[in-house]
């Protein structure tokens, strides 16, 4: 069994962990160059998934706490786009994702994957003024879903900002410090 498969399985275990144990199911162990999760609408290649993983990691980098890639936010983005977005959004997302590297080459002289972290940040900053509609929409959707996935992740809700199911509290005159 090669290392990639082992890593993949570790990732899947973690994925099940973040998704609550029942939700995202692996389509395969990446023998076919396809994505890690089963998708109904999007057709995503392995390298596109890898690119997306680097992108969410750039948006939410790991520091002394986990970042986007470790929290599998790229898979969350794919899941949400696949299930919760319109066909038009999905088309723009796929086109934008495909154009993303070309755009990076044009602007930064290199593929996004090959850029150093600081250059990646510069590139994302420059996307605020991007004119390419698909890239703009792809990036907008990805960023919004990454933020949502992060703030609603088990890790953040357990370790960083505790979500209290019970007992709830209510104080209408909570004094700010």
């Amino acid at each position: 069994m090669n290392v990639d498969v082992i890593n993949r399985r570790a990732a899947i275990r973690r994925l099940l962990f973040i998704a609550g144990g029942t939700l995202l199911l692996p389509a395969c162990y990446r023998q076919s160059g396809k994505t890690t999760i089963e998708l109904n609408h999007l057709v995503i290649e392995e390298e596109q998934e890898d690119l997306l993983a680097e992108l969410v990691e750039t948006i939410i980098p790991s520091s002394d706490t986990p970042g986007g890639k470790e929290l599998l936010l790229h898979l969350f983005v794919l899941k949400m786009v696949d299930d919760c977005h319109s066909p038009e959004d999905q088309e723009a997302f796929i086109t934008g994702l495909s154009t993303f590297s070309t755009y990076s080459r044009e602007l930064m002289g290199q593929d996004f994957m090959k850029l150093a972290v600081d250059k990646r940040l510069v590139f994302l900053e420059s996307l605020k003024e991007v004119e390419n509609e698909e890239v703009k929409r792809f990036y907008g959707i990805t960023k919004r879903r990454t933020i949502q996935g992060y703030t609603n992740s088990k890790y953040v809700m357990t370790d960083l900002k505790k979500y209290e199911l019970v007992p709830g509290r209510y104080n209408g005159y909570f004094k700010m410090t």
């Binding site: 973040i18 998704a19 609550g20 144990g21 939700l23 995202l24 750039t58 948006i59 939410i60 980098p61 520091s63 706490t65 970042g67 899941k79 949400m80 299930d83 919760c84 977005h85 319109s86 940040l121 994302l124 900053e125 960023k143 933020i147 949502q148 996935g149 992060y150 703030t151 609603n152 992740s153 088990k154 953040v156 809700m157 960083l160 900002k161 979500y163 199911l165 019970v166 007992p167 709830g168 509290r169 209510y170 104080n171 209408g172 005159y173 909570f174 004094k175 700010m176």
Partner: protein
Amino acid sequence: MANLNIDSVKTRTFDAIVIGSGASGGWAAKEFTEKGLKTLVLERGRDVVHVKDYPTTNLYPYELEHRNEITYADKQANPIANRCYAYREDTKHFFVKDEEHPYIQEKDFDWIRGYQVGGKSLLWARQTQRWSAYDFEGPARDGFAIDWPIRYQDIDPWYSYVERFVGIAGNKDGLYTLPDGDFLPGYPLNAVEDYFRQSVHKNFKGRHVISARCAHLSEPQPIHIQQGRVKCQNRVLCQRGCPFGGYFSSNASTIPWAQKTGNLTLRPHSVVHSILYDQESGKANGVKVIDTESLEEIDFFANVIFVNASALNTNLILLNSKSDRFPEGLGNDNGLMGKYIAFHNYTARISAEYDGLLEYRTDGRNPAGGGYIPNFRNVDRQETDFLRGWAATFGAGRSPIRDTDGVGDGLKKELLHDSKWSNWRVHSHMMGETIPKEENRVWLDTGKTDKWGIPLLHIDVDYAEDDWLRRKDYYQQMTSMFEAAGFTNIRTQDDGRRPGNDIHEMGGVRMGHDPKTSLLNKWNQLHLCKNVYVTDGACMTSTATQNPTLTYMALTARAVDHAVKSLKSGEL
């Protein structure tokens, strides 16, 4: 008919039949079974057992596949259900999907339904206000619809009776337009809601902001503990079903209570086709049911029948209960059944900001939702160009300010901080009375049926001119009240809500004194078929501004009391 042998008839015969297991049907079941009557409750949907059948109740946000969002495919398939504020990933299994139960919209009408044991009592907003004398006297005083055959004092003791069992959190506010009840401690207003209360009190005579009254156990009493319910935990995830029984639902309260008596037979998967009328006795003697699993047609028999199928379905069942004596529907000699459908006008919202009291924020969650502004319009005298009035919610809150413009470490910090908070944002929505009109009506299609062969319902209900005048008044009055409190950035908003989406559909089988102009008498009996009672929203003669469920429950308890006494005295 399925089977006519005598033993089978015996097993299909009860003292009472209740159609529907929502808030009012659950109350009918509780009252009948407590009084010793063998009672059959028919529910068209599946069973939902308290706690056991609440699959999402203890899920954390990250355990919901789409983080509580509805999928695109679901939105496309169920535009009606999706327009309900409470339709989410964690609750959608309790809502009727559009294609499962079609109806015919003559005009846009969102019919929001919950077909299961407990009905919409699992899903309701739990706001519980008594009607006042002003409300019951409304039609007679202002000359619309017809006079209610009851007055506030007729229902007052039944409100208390129901409130004690249900558990209503509220304060004694001493208001004529919103009588006090038998309350558990109310949930306090937050800093800005309380500030607005004082400002309104000071600047506007006769207007009040109070803590919203709601069916939550703020301090459970022995009667609630006996039901197996405990204190509300402020989760505010109510529509998932509450494992604590912290809010009232049939599932947590009346149904298990009725089951404990040993007198209840609960039959899910039982769509009522019609009520059977016996020409000889001049009474109804049972109901025809279609078992949705076996598709078998089965008749059940009883001395008294309560129709609590939810307002429009109650209309449907009665209209479909045709006999030689009643070719236009049971008790419908005057042809008024299905007419005078009314609802609440929820189309208006207003929001603003407040930059005072920034030393405070709300911590945690308030199950009551915040404040309530009882109607103050046209109370002592007619003062506007529309009849009757409106009530409103009022809430205030703050949220962390997060600049999500950047990426990287800076963004990460922004998403986690707890230090920068917005100004207070205040918001309100209108709950307007609507005037019942004959042209707002429902009727049965003559050809199209559902999958059980029951005619589809046409719904022809719309707003009227006075609804827009009322809304204009709401915008104006709320704006001046907001301005007086120093709120800024005031914005009014038509939320485009369709009739029905208030989920307070009422009428069609209205109560009244006179069999010529009404269907039900003052005890909720059909004038022309006295052992059939209607005590859900269909019985309503007018709508008032209050959330109606508490009134349905009180009317039900009162009607069961009457039915049992009448059975004993031989009148029924």
